[in-house]
Subunit: 247 residues, 2 copies
DNA sequence: CGAGCACTTGATCGCTTTCAATAGCTGTGG
DNA sequence: CCACAGCTATTGAAAGCGATCAAGTGCTCG
């Protein structure tokens, strides 16, 4: 409620994702047009934002919080197929219904655009179409990166891969650079990590314990993580760490 | 050589992928502009078209044959992250170097565009940019579909999933519809299937034998496959087959 | 005919899953 | 304030699936 009140009156100028979201390349007049079709919505952790198969009448950007895209088989096996961070785009222009479940992993705020007007606007606004193409290509790269993780890495490497992705993202936000320990809170439950990694939650728990025992990571409580040496973590992930940073 | 000779003189009008490739929405004048920057290249089965990390000076479309996108870890584990069929696009506008190995799985013909002029053209040709966005979104969907296969399916389900994808694609090309048996030749070796599915080639072989024993598939030789009942195969794949066809 | 390649099949190993018990934490109600 | 439910997470023991190691088959081509 308070969140909603806060965001109801936000305009694009002081939007935290202004320079990274689908609107990143927009000019002033284009932003003004966007403002007329946008609205904010808040979701609580655990809430399902969109059900797979449901008709979609909006698209939008994650402003704050984390959401996940998941697929579920009839017997209940589920696989997370995307992790949506602030500035990531939700929904597919030109598609009527949602292909995946979208679930708020943490409390979440979204900047939504009514779908029809947004599609129309894409037609005459190359800045938006072009930015969306860039972002989609990036997501495709991320998905392919993840296919390697899912298909070929061991449980230990999978956990290390996930932690290093989160760690490097957080390190790039607070840019003290690559030196020194990285500290963050895990935004995912063990079960969500398992769904992301194609493991069981027990295996996730065991491998995290093992990495802790080997001092690759330090844990305070269940969620607060310190990475003393990101290089060692990336070795455990099986990533090529020699000569240049990934991403 | 003969292939090259044939394709050297092909123009877009009688191109077999004219209506599905990145140029699908182009007008006559746009095609003419494309013709000035395009050229054909042929590759033999097994040949590497692009090495990961190499500078890319072209992008292009698969005209005929099949190529695969693969990632390889330092210790040699490899994962196929994309299967490129005729009309699929290769390369990423705006990126300097290749992110994956691209390998010709069969003999292959590509329609290549010089990268710089193509990027320039994208800027002033919404038909191309828009089509590329559509295709990239489709590829993203396919990649996410594959993440479920890699992360959550059993070896048997993985094989059945791959076979059903190939079978349904072939069935849609020779549109006698969904009725009756589907017959095709496997375009992939057991090893390539293993790399696609995150398995070993021995497991692939065993599961194919098992599906044959259970009459889900019929085999003549190693590669010629008959699917008597696509519905049964899709059940084995763990896909939801009730109420409507997938895709 | 023998070399090389793609594939199959068998035996065994080991990693991850499965099943199960337990701990720690939070919030609720007597 | 304590008891208890509900949830997340940890840990142990056993089972199972796919990987690994190892022959062996069938085919093509020189």
């Amino acid at each position: 409620m308070t969140l909603k009140a806060v965001y109801e009156h936000t305009n694009c100028d002081d939007c935290p994702i202004r320079h990274r979201a689908v609107c990143a390349h927009c000019e002033k007049d284009e932003l003004e047009e966007l403002e007329t079709i946008k609205y904010y919505r808040s979701f609580e952790a655990g809430q399902t934002i969109i059900w797979s198969g449901d008709p979609m009448n909006f698209v939008g950007s994650v402003v704050s919080g984390i959401a996940s895209l998941t697929q579920t088989m009839e017997d209940g096996r589920t696989q997370m197929v995307g992790l949506l961070l602030p500035s990531d785009f939700v929904g597919r222009p030109g598609r009527e219904s949602a292909a995946y479940d979208v679930v708020a992993t943490t409390d979440l705020v979204m900047c939504c655009f009514r779908k029809k007007p947004f599609e129309d606007m894409m037609g005459h606004t190359p800045h938006i179409a072009h930015r969306l193409l860039q972002m989609t290509l990036d997501e495709l790269d991320a998905a392919r990166e993840w296919m390697l993780v899912l298909g070929r890495k061991t449980a230990r490497e999978k956990i290390a891969s996930l932690l290093s992705i989160i760690a490097r993202r957080d390190a790039s936000i607070q840019p003290k650079g690559m030196s020194g320990p990285i500290v963050f809170d895990l935004p995912l439950t063990r079960e969500a990590m398992a769904d992301y990694l194609g493991l069981t939650l027990e295996t996730v728990s065991r491998q995290i314990s093992a990495l802790k025992k080997d001092q690759i990571i330090l844990l305070e409580g269940k969620r607060h993580v310190t990475i003393p040496d990101i290089g060692r973590l990336m070795e455990e992930a099986g990533d090529d760490t020699d000569g240049g940073y990934l991403n």
